[in-house]
């Protein structure tokens, strides 16, 4: 139903749609009923309150229906979340290193960059490491984030389905320039990507620095 830059992002949007639809349903029922009662049973129109019998059936119904609905929500969320926790056998490992207040990336062949480059259609496992306080690695377009937690290594699995540029933000408060801790994800076609990956590898310089590092403003 939704078309995101990854399969997972589309799934998250679908689940969100389901939850919001159910929520709007409940909200409308509650609000409309309340407003109707306030007018229909207004003191002027309805001077004598009537006793209404307690209803065990009603209580059971409005416990049971929401319970079933939330169990579905729970299940959909769990299923889709577990999908991105399994590490595919062919995933390449990239290190994400956070420090106050920037992200940097280290690739398996020793290359380093300030912008995350990935190839379309490939599986990746990102190892998330912080050198100081907690940060969180958030790619809004991918509907995904995971903390860089001091003292341990967390991971994240992703598979870009489209080429393009995407924002990366730090979403765990980390002090003075927390709001400047933006980075970029650039997804390339596989052949372009390989070219980029092997470019200047032995010089160990950051070829992307000039073009990408400080454009966040």
């Amino acid at each position: 139903m939704f078309n995101g830059p990854t399969q997972y992002a589309s799934d998250v949007d679908s689940i969100m749609f389901f939850i919001i639809a159910v929520s709007v349903g409940f909200l409308v029922i509650v609000t409309v009923a309340m407003i109707y009662f306030i007018f229909r049973y207004n003191k002027k129109r309805h001077p004598q309150a009537r006793d209404v019998k307690e209803s065990a059936i009603l209580e059971v119904v409005w416990i049971a229906i929401p319970t079933i609905l939330v169990l579905f929500m729970f299940y959909f969320g769990l299923q889709s979340f577990y999908g991105i926790r399994e590490i595919p056998a062919d995933a390449s490992n990239i290190k994400v290193i956070g420090r106050m207040w920037q992200f940097s990336y280290a690739y398996p062949n020793g290359k380093k960059s300030d912008t995350l480059f990935l190839a379309k259609g490939k599986n990746y496992k990102l190892d998330l490491i912080t050198t100081d306080v907690n940060h969180s690695f958030f790619i809004p377009a991918y509907r995904i984030k995971e903390d860089l937690s001091a003292g341990k290594t967390n991971y994240m699995v992703l598979k870009p389905a489209e080429t393009g540029e995407f924002d990366i933000a730090c979403s765990e408060y980390c002090g003075l320039n927390h709001s400047k801790m933006y980075s970029k994800l650039i997804v390339l076609e596989e052949n372009q990507y390989n070219e980029w990956l092997n470019q200047g590898i032995n010089k160990n310089t950051d070829s992307t620095k000039t073009t990408n590092a400080a454009e966040k403003k």
Partner: protein, 542 residues
């Protein structure tokens, strides 16, 4: 003069002359009503301070980059806004102010079980509040860690974290002692004949809350001591650089702070369950369902804390378990909302100001609760975690829930507490401003959050500008509404007409005593034969 009071003997608690005179007659009073009133003043003052800070934050968000303050100031302001609103306004809020004032009266007692301890709680509250605010002006500068004090940042920052933590520690004790006092009072001082199931629902809510306060608060107290030790003596507990574990801090923090969410909301739910019967002239629908849902919220609420940590790298099994419990804790809250609305069915509704605040609460709290489903769900939470979505959600629950009911309670019990009446038209006017401002401000934040706007950001990307701007305008509308509300109440207090003993036709015990009540509450302790709302059943109400 009040009809039930013997004109010659009647001295209200406001005029009562005891051992002390002047200001000391208040500051050293062990009367639960005076203590409740002092809490109320403190809470309104701190709320005004917190709201001013909030308005400054919103002003900064009018434009990207610097509008009125630099990032260090912004970080300190949102930290202080959070600490004030959570620890000084919402947690003590309804129980300390209205609980103190009305719990003894509503169960037919002359005071709480331990009046002196009650005064001590109040003093601890004031000392904690002053310490928290003084960290603004002392060396080291205002703290900049967020109200959640996440380590390792809280260990490493140079700002005055220890002092603010110590303040929270003291406030925790205030909360524990009040809880202890309420539990004992409910068990020991109910009027003859008042069994548990004949208690008003507000008392049920205070009782459930008191247990959470007593059981959960010590955990945060210990955690705070550990952080202070770590900062001062470098003992490695939470900071991995010293061999500690920062995730442990998050667990300990949320083991308290999640149940604390229920400390904040349960008393409000209790007030709602009082106001609705009074203005619909109906027995609350599903009295037992509501009482049990309070207890089950208090219980299940202990097993959901780690939904604040879905992105912190917990095991996947833990994430699943906490997600499941989080969804389950939504059910009793839903049950309450359904029962409240059902109570209006075939009632005789008099939509006065307190009732309108409750109606507004039902809408805002439902939005808050339902968006909580997005946060309980693993897939969607991972996306909106740490964004404006979360900020919007908890403001709908805490502000749209607890604070709106604080306002409702204020308008409901104002005539009883002060024996004066406010202008109802102006109060409704204020309410409309608040409702419009609130939704303009916070609903846009749901959208911003889903679009990926992280919270606690001094700056933002250009694409967020329009919504940020609209949200800030909403904040200004809401502040206007609040100012109208407060001035209307102050005006009523000073110049308002005398209030009757029972202006709303309420049926709980506080409406059987004069407005304002005497120092001893009752000339004669009442004997209880029926539950409070029983009277509606017999159709005795005109």
């Amino acid at each position: 003069m009040n009809k039930s009071a013997d004109a010659s003997n009647y001295v209200s608690y406001l005029d009562y002359k005891g051992k002390h005179t002047g200001i000391w007659a208040w500051l050293l009073s062990t009367d639960h009503k005076r203590i409740g009133l002092m809490y109320l003043m403190g809470i309104i003052v701190f709320f005004t301070a917190g709201m001013t800070l909030g308005a400054l934050l919103k002003t900064e968000m009018l434009t990207a980059g610097r509008t009125i303050m630099d990032p260090q100031t912004y970080n300190a302001v949102f930290t202080l806004h959070g600490i004030i609103m959570i620890f000084l306004v919402i947690i003590p809020g309804i129980p300390a102010a209205f609980g103190n004032f009305f719990l003894p009266i509503m169960i037919g007692a002359k005071d709480v079980s331990f009046p002196r301890l009650n005064l001590l709680s109040f003093w601890l509250y004031i000392i904690g509040g002053v310490l928290a605010l003084s960290s603004l002006f002392l060396q080291g500068g205002p703290i900049d860690v967020g109200w959640s004090f996440y380590v390792p940042y809280a260990i490493r920052t140079n700002s005055n974290v220890s002092l603010a933590l110590f303040a929270a520690f003291i406030l925790g004790f205030s909360s524990i002692l009040t809880g202890l006092n309420f539990v004992t009072t409910v068990h020991r001082l109910r009027a003859p004949g008042m069994t548990f199931f004949k208690m008003p629902l507000f008392i049920w809510a205070l009782y459930s809350t008191a247990w959470i306060q007593v059981i959960a608060t010590p955990v945060v107290g210990i955690t705070i001591v550990l952080v202070i030790l770590e900062r001062m003596f470098g003992i490695g507990i939470f900071d991995p650089a010293l061999g500690g574990d920062p995730i442990l801090f998050q667990h300990l923090f949320w083991i308290y702070s999640h149940p604390a969410v229920y400390i904040m909301i349960l008393p409000a739910m209790g007030v709602v369950s009082e106001i609705i019967p009074t203005f619909t002239k109906r027995e609350i629908f599903g009295y037992k369902a509501i009482a049990y849902s309070s207890l089950s919220i208090a219980f299940i609420g202990y097993f959901v804390w780690a939904h604040h940590m879905f992105t912190s790298g917990m095991s996947d099994i833990a994430r699943a378990v906490f997600s499941l419990f989080t969804f389950l804790v939504a059910i009793p809250s839903g049950v309450k909302v359904f029962n409240w609305v059902a109570t209006m069915y075939k009632g005789s509704i008099d939509a006065k100001v307190p009732f309108l605040f409750v109606a507004m609460f039902i809408v805002l709290f439902s939005i808050g609760g339902l968006t909580g489903l997005v946060l309980g769900n693993l897939a969607t939470d991972i996306h909106v975690h740490g964004t404006y979505f979360v900020v919007a959600h908890f403001h709908y629950v805490m502000f749209g829930g607890t604070v709106m009911i604080l306002f409702a309670a204020l308008h409901y019990w104002f005539p009883k507490m002060f024996g004066k009446m406010y202008n109802e038209k102006i109060a409704k006017f204020a309410l409309v401003f608040i409702f419009i401002g609130f939704n303009t401000m916070y609903f846009t934040m749901f959208i911003l959050g889903y679009q990926g706007m992280p919270r606690r950001y001094w700056d933002y990307l250009p694409e967020f500008h329009n919504l940020q701007f609209i949200s800030a305008i909403g904040a200004f509308i809401m502040v206007t509404g609040f100012l109208i509300l407060i001035f209307n109440l102050l005006h009523g207090l000073l110049k308002g007409p005398k209030a009757e003993q029972n202006p709303w036709g309420g049926v709980t015990l506080e409406w059987t005593v004069p407005s304002p009540p005497t120092i001893e509450n009752f000339d004669e302790i009442p004997v209880i034969e029926h539950g409070p709302y029983h009277i509606y059943k017999e159709g005795q109400i005109k």
